[in-house]
Structure formats: structure tokens, C-alpha cells
Amino acid sequence: MDVPTDAELVQQVRNGSRRAFSELMRRHQQRVYWTARRLIGNHDDAEDVAQETFVKAYLALGDFRGDASFFTWLYRIAVNLSLNALRKRQLITYVRESELMRRVIPGGHDPSEEVEHRESESRLQHAVEKLPEKQKAVFVLRFYDGLPYEDIALMLHTSVGGLKANYHHALKKVQEMMRDENPKS
């Protein structure tokens, strides 16, 4: 039996099939999760974004015109939600840092350690986290997911030329940061 394409499954969902939507989720949830996780840098928020992405997609499937592929459309939702979550998280971190700085106890541990405490991540992930938002988005979508510039431009509402410049800046910055962390190489 032929495996239905995304477009066929989308049509089945529009005809009322929840099973078809579950199949779409099963196909794409890992990529959506990893994109969110690389952009946000933490598991819990990434899981929440992954769920929210599918909920939004399900509710907005009527607006999906099929100009791009279903996955590109889904990706766009995931990236937007991730960037929103990232901004919220940055704000929270900023507030916490300010709060911790006020509570510094002489002789105590460095409060920045508490802020920086994260789950174990690779050097590359550390470097990516330090990139500005736009560069981070294009880096994750291009470097990890290998998406073409045209698709990324569609998702981030920007020009291909601008994206290329952003990506090249990001690559160089990441390379420099990784060299600084590991001077032997």
C-alpha cells in the first residue's frame, strides 16, 4: 500500500480525519522539536513549542493554501513560536540576573553560575546560543536542517541575499567562539 504524501494527509485532515493529523505529527514532530530546541536551547520549552506548533497547525489548517509544502508551513509556525519563546526566556533570564545581582552574598558563589546552569550541551550549542536572534534562526535552519535559502526566506520574511549575509556572519562567529573555547584547535 502506498504511503500517503503530506498533501494527501492534509486533505484527509480537512475532511475530518484526526488519524491523518496524528500521522503528520508522527512524521514531523522530531524535526519540529529539534528546531525549537536548537533555537531555544532547552528541552521543556522546546517540547511546549512542539505541542503548540501542532495545535496551531491543526486549528489553522483551513488557511493553509498549499503554496509551500506542509512541512515548510509547519516549520514557519515552529520558528515563530520558538523565537517568541526565546524572547520570553531572555526577558526572564534578564530579570533573574538582575534579581541575583542584588542578592550577592560576599564570599558566596558566583550568581552568574546559577543563571548559566543548563543541561549539558555541546560547545557548538553554546556558541549558537550566543548568536543574535536572526543569525541564530538562519543558522539553525540552514546548518542543522539544511533548508534552502528560499524556504528560510519565506519563513523569516526576509530576502535571500540578507539571509546569506546573516548565515555567513553566523558561521564565522560560531567558528571564532569555538576557537576561543578550544584554543588547541
Binding site: R18, F21, S22, M25, R26, Q29, Q30, Y33, W34, R37, H43, E47, A50, Q51, F54, V55, Y58, L59, E119, S120, E121, S122, R123, L124, Q125, F143, K164, A165, Y167, H168, L171, K172, V174, Q175, M178, R179, N182, S185
Partner: protein
């Protein structure tokens, strides 16, 4: 104005080379979730979709914040409106008790005594429609309104007068009945 240093753009080959270099330097990738996580994610997302699609998610929060307090307030208001009775004065209770035990003939008698001839009403109306004497109002109440509300208009003294009238009329009525038998 910010001036950016113009950097030569990487061509595709240079881009690939840089990517490869970064990949080779990268440490171990962060550990991914185990297989059961993906199954659970599917189930949890489906639950979330059910909640949103059925409107349950919205209803619960909306009910907790708006609907339940609103309905409780409205019910409390209606119940209060239904059961609220202005506090009765002592006179009113007393008069009400008396009127309740009065015989029909005694009530008729009472109304007769206090009824005012139509000519008098016309004369008073000519003086001032809204200038209604208390006695006239009392008579009006006796004829038309709920007798138990008469107490609202009567002073202690007037209540005594009414009681005296009632007693005498009751006695007269009893005498009449006794005389008739």
C-alpha cells in the same frame, strides 16, 4: 549612522568548508529524548488539540473566571429579591393579626365606616389632587389594597382607634347575629 565593514561574501564552496570545520570541532551533540518521549508527545499534543478544538480548555478557564462568579451573583440577587421582605413594624403585625381573624362582616363594617362619599372626594380633588388627607388614604387602602398594609399608614393612636372601632363593630355584629337568632 552605523557603518558596516564590507566583508567579501562566501561562495558556496567556502560556505561548505566552514560548515565542515565547525562540525569537526563541535563537541558531542546534546542527548535527545528517549523513544517513549515521542509517543507521549504525540498523545499529549492530541489531548491539547482535543481541549482546544472542543472548547473545553477555553470553557474551564472562562467558567472559573467569569461564568461561575457571574451566575452565582445573579442567583444571589434573584433569591434576595424574592425573599426580601421589609421589616414589619409592631403596629403592622398587630393590625395584620387582627385583620386576619376578623370576620367578613366586620371587615365590611369597617370599610363602610371609613368610606368617603363621592361628593367629598370631588370637593377635595378640586382643592388639590395630590393633597390627599391621611384619612382618605386610609379609606382607599381599606377598600382597595391589601388590608395588612394599612399598618404602614397608621400611628399608634390611629391603631388604637381602629381597634376600638373593630371591637365595637364586632360587638354590634355579634349582637345583630344574637338578635337575629
Amino acid at each position: 549612522m552605523k557603518i558596516r565593514r564590507a566583508e567579501p561574501e562566501l561562495d558556496e564552496r567556502a560556505e561548505r568548508a566552514l560548515e565542515e570545520e565547525i562540525r569537526s570541532q563541535a563537541g558531542p551533540s546534546p542527548a535527545g529524548p528517549a523513544e517513549p518521549f515521542w509517543q507521549n508527545l504525540l498523545v499529549r499534543t492530541n489531548y491539547r488539540i482535543d481541549d482546544v478544538a472542543s472548547g473545553k480548555g477555553i470553557t474551564i478557564s472562562w467558567a472559573a473566571r467569569v461564568a461561575i462568579p457571574g451566575v452565582v451573583a445573579i442567583i444571589a440577587f434573584l433569591v434576595g429579591l424574592h425573599y426580601y421582605v421589609p421589616e414589619l413594624t409592631a403596629e403592622r403585625e398587630r393590625l395584620g393579626d387582627i385583620l386576619r381573624v376578623m370576620s367578613d362582616s366586620a371587615q365590611v363594617n369597617l370599610m363602610d365606616r371609613y368610606s368617603i362619599p363621592a361628593e367629598d372626594l370631588s370637593a377635595r380633588a378640586a382643592e388639590g389632587v395630590f393633597d390627599v388627607p391621611v384619612t382618605q388614604a386610609q379609606a382607599y387602602y381599606l377598600e382597595t389594597a391589601d388590608l395588612s398594609s394599612l399598618g404602614d399608614l397608621l400611628s399608634d393612636e390611629q391603631v388604637s382607634t381602629v381597634l376600638t372601632v373593630l371591637e365595637s363593630s364586632t360587638t354590634a355584629a355579634t349582637d345583630d347575629l344574637g338578635g337575629g337568632s
